[in-house]
């Protein structure tokens, strides 16, 4: 695990704020824009991409159970002694436990302890303590935002919140409460409850949650020229599945005369294109449940989705029946499985370079997006032990769109 000292973290997070907002809150310089990134060259051609933060649909947010502003930690233990023992096993020292739990209120409820720490304890907790404690809390389903923290994929918080209605004070709160992911890729924020304290109205509360719970998807474009367009590029995007006659489309694009590009939404199969940058809708759950990562991956090349889920009894059989283990280099359409703690915790579809197609959670707050694989790992790697295995779709070939 790589940890970053708290002062360094603050230094990384806050300068962007001071550039944007003056001491008295006045704007002192124009807000910088995000940059377009260039992916490494490869058989996929020349890709460029940029982030688009996707906000919850308003009607979805209204169904969201807004947490109390009181920070709550739930631990499964029958006695105080057992709770202390669990904390020690998780790596916290006696001194860290004392500081974190100093002045807290505890409610014992059958076999769980509900702990309400003081504001001071939450704010002043050293990063290392926070990392260890919150990793422990992530193991209990009652700790919603510890189990699935808000994932911040960059150091510049101003940049991350750009376009949202989140105010400066809340962003400062986030800068104090965010902590590095176990593998050092990005930051987690679990104390969403605390940040709600600054909200003075229900509207501000919703705007804050909108800002915090956004998901950043990538818009990816393939840049083409007559010189760079080769049959190999078409072969790459066709992936042997002949799911679309890609080459004529690419040839048409290069007839443009301005350094042509095509959105790769046009190069992926029909079903993932339908869901790209979409949040689930109630219609998606008409059969009783919402799509999850396995539904997303299994149906990537299918013209009609099949109702299979990550907890389906035949999940592993289906994986082995329709996919085969593969070695790098990854190919378009490969299934990447994230393993942690001896089990599969997530899967996504490899697109190109370090970009994947993913649905990170089975709930209605998680859209289907293009994301960088390192961010997918950062998002899911709560324990810091994620490894990836690659599977490739077997013949016979699936139906084309």
């Amino acid at each position: 695990m790589r940890t970053i000292p708290s002062l360094l973290l603050l230094a990384m997070l806050i300068p962007a704020l001071s550039q944007r907002v003056g001491a008295q809150g006045e704007s002192v310089e124009p807000v910088a824009k995000r940059q377009v990134s260039i992916a490494p060259d490869g058989p996929w051609g020349n890709l460029e991409f940029f982030e688009v933060p996707l906000e919850f649909p308003t009607e979805t947010l209204s169904s969201f159970a807004i947490p109390s502003q009181n920070v709550e930690w739930v631990l499964q233990a029958a006695t105080h002694e057992e709770m202390d023992s669990i904390l020690l096993v998780a790596g916290l020292t006696s001194a860290e436990i004392s500081n974190a739990f100093a002045g807290c209120t505890v409610i014992q409820d059958e076999d769980i302890f509900r702990v309400y720490p003081t504001t001071e304890a939450v704010l002043s907790m050293p990063l290392e303590t926070r990392t260890k404690l919150y990793r422990l809390l992530s193991q209990y389903s009652q700790n919603r935002f510890y189990r699935r923290p808000v994932y911040i994929n960059q150091q510049n918080l101003s940049d991350w919140f750009r376009g949202s209605e989140v105010d400066r004070d809340s962003i400062t709160d986030v800068s104090m409460l965010a902590y590095p992911t176990p593998n050092g890729q990005g930051f987690y924020l679990s104390d969403v409850a605390y940040t709600l304290r600054g909200a003075t109205s229900a509207l501000e509360e919703r705007e804050l949650l909108q800002g915090l719970l956004r998901s950043s998807g990538l818009i990816v474009r393939l840049r083409l020229s007559r010189e760079s367009l080769t049959p190999g590029i078409a072969d790459y995007w066709t992936a042997g599945y002949k799911n679309k006659a890609v080459m004529p489309l690419l040839e048409s694009v290069v007839t443009q005369n301005d350094g042509s590009s095509i959105d790769i939404a046009h190069l992926i199969p029909a079903l993932p294109r339908q869901y790209l940058n979409q949040f689930p809708d109630t219609q998606d759950g008409a059969d009783g449940r919402l799509p999850d990562w396995f539904w997303t991956c299994y149906n990537f090349f299918r013209s009609s989705p099949r109702a299979v889920y990550a907890d389906s009894p035949d999940r592993d059989r289906l994986i082995l029946k329709e996919f085969e283990p593969a070695m790098p280099l990854n190919q378009f359409g490969d299934l990447l499985l994230l393993n942690s703690g001896g089990r599969i915790i997530h899967g996504c579809i490899y697109i190109a370079a370090d970009i994947v197609y993913t649905k990170n959670s089975s709930d209605i707050y998680s859209p289907w997006i293009f994301m960088r694989i390192q961010d997918v790992i950062g998002y899911h790697d709560v324990l810091g032990d994620v490894t990836i295995s690659t599977f490739r779709k077997r013949a016979p070939l699936p139906e084309a769109p």
Partner: protein, 379 residues
């Protein structure tokens, strides 16, 4: 309205300018692309090598009399009588046509024959006639079609009411011979479709609220707003492909072809299927049932005056004026840009195209009655 109206006159002209149009939809730029059906869409019948004409309920004598009536020479008729193989199939009287006849009939004969089939045996006409999109042979580049084959296509094609058409596919397949790859390439080329890639231009001065209002009709505004905001917040990005602004189902099918799984026992997705599903999340098998369009439109849509300014997502139905029977429908996107699937064939993709290009495939219907239907939000 468009500022530039360029076109690619021939395959060797590679510089195609983009067209720009501004209105309540914002500023759009678009350019043509050509889509070829993947080989997975091909039915074996496309590769048939036997030229067959079908005369329905007529007898051999009656068929020859009809051909004489539309201008076929006695010499051709004699060859057809002597060398053609006549027989009655389930679908009617058929004659296998020898190459000597295919090669000797004049362009006028061919056009007259097409008109006769259109009037007297429309199903057969639909099966054998290919409308060459774009009205020229620019898709038939040398790397796809040998010059001598292209020459045969040119000499055997005809213009019917403004549409460049062809109905001698088996003849060309015979000429290509056993070269499987060349045959496939030819089929893909002749069935290729012209479509548009359309992008919304966005900069810091773009009126985001107006754009979002226009493009989010009938569904959630937040998704469209997120995309537009994302573009505005990114340096070096000033446009977004409108695939990201379309509702889920047209996004799924755009530039794609319908599949067996989309079909029912009697029908496959067609223009109306594409239109009525525009704002839907998933397709309904019910839309493949043969019911009146009112059945599908009465509850979820309101009819608006055809004179009214069209909204994004409006369904435009074209009907025969004499009996209001259905001809075609499409979805209005912006300006002259429409979303359509031209016909029920699996070889015709779902596309964005110019209304004027789309209408060039429906010339024989003359003046149409137009009815416009607008989705009721939330339905």
């Amino acid at each position: 309205m468009p500022e530039v109206t360029p076109s690619a006159e021939a395959a060797e002209i590679l510089q195609v300018e983009k067209t720009v149009t501004t209105g309540p939809w914002g500023t759009l730029e678009y350019y043509p692309v050509r889509l070829e059906p993947p080989t997975t869409q091909f039915l074996q019948s496309l590769f048939g090598k036997t030229t067959v004409w079908n005369f329905g309920v007529l007898t051999e004598t009656g068929a020859l009399a009809e051909l004489r009536g539309i201008g076929f020479s006695e010499e051709i008729l004699e060859t057809l009588r002597a060398e053609g193989r006549w027989g009655r199939a389930k679908s009617g009287l058929e004659v296998t046509v020898p190459d000597s006849v295919v090669e000797s009939i004049t362009p006028d004969n061919r056009l007259a024959l097409a008109e006769w089939f259109h009037s007297n045996n429309y199903d057969f006409f639909s099966r054998i006639t290919v409308n060459i999109e774009g009205g020229d042979f620019s898709a038939f580049t040398e790397d796809k079609v040998r010059p001598e084959i292209l020459e045969l296509v040119k000499t055997h094609s005809f213009v019917r009411k403004g549409v460049l058409s062809f109905m001698d596919l088996p003849f060309i397949v015979r000429k290509i011979g056993d070269r499987e790859e060349e045959r496939e390439t030819f089929i893909r080329t002749i069935f290729s479709t012209r479509a548009l890639v359309v992008r919304l231009l966005i900069d810091e001065t773009t009126d985001r609220a107006a754009i979002v209002d226009y493009w989010s009709w009938g569904e959630r505004a937040s998704r469209v707003e997120s995309i537009v905001k994302g573009v505005q917040a990114t340096m070096g990005v000033d446009k977004i492909d409108i695939v990201h602004l379309l509702p889920p189902l047209p996004r799924r099918y755009l530039y794609a072809f319908s599949r067996i799984s989309d079909s029912s026992v009697h029908n496959t997705p067609d223009c109306f299927w594409a239109s009525v599903h525009f704002f839907k999340r998933s397709p309904s098998p019910r839309v493949l049932d043969s019911l009146s369009i009112e059945h599908y439109l009465a509850h979820d849509f309101t009819e608006v005056s055809a004179e009214e300014k069209l909204h994004f997502g409006d369904i435009v139905c074209l009907l025969r004026p004499e009996d209001e029977s259905f001809i075609h429908s499409y979805v209005h996107i912006a300006d002259d840009i429409v979303f359509t699937k031209n016909g029920a064939s699996n070889l015709h993709p779902f596309i964005l195209t110019l209304k004027s290009d789309m209408m060039s495939l429906y010339p024989h219907e003359g003046e149409c009655k137009v009815r416009v239907f607008r989705q009721i939000p939330g339905r």
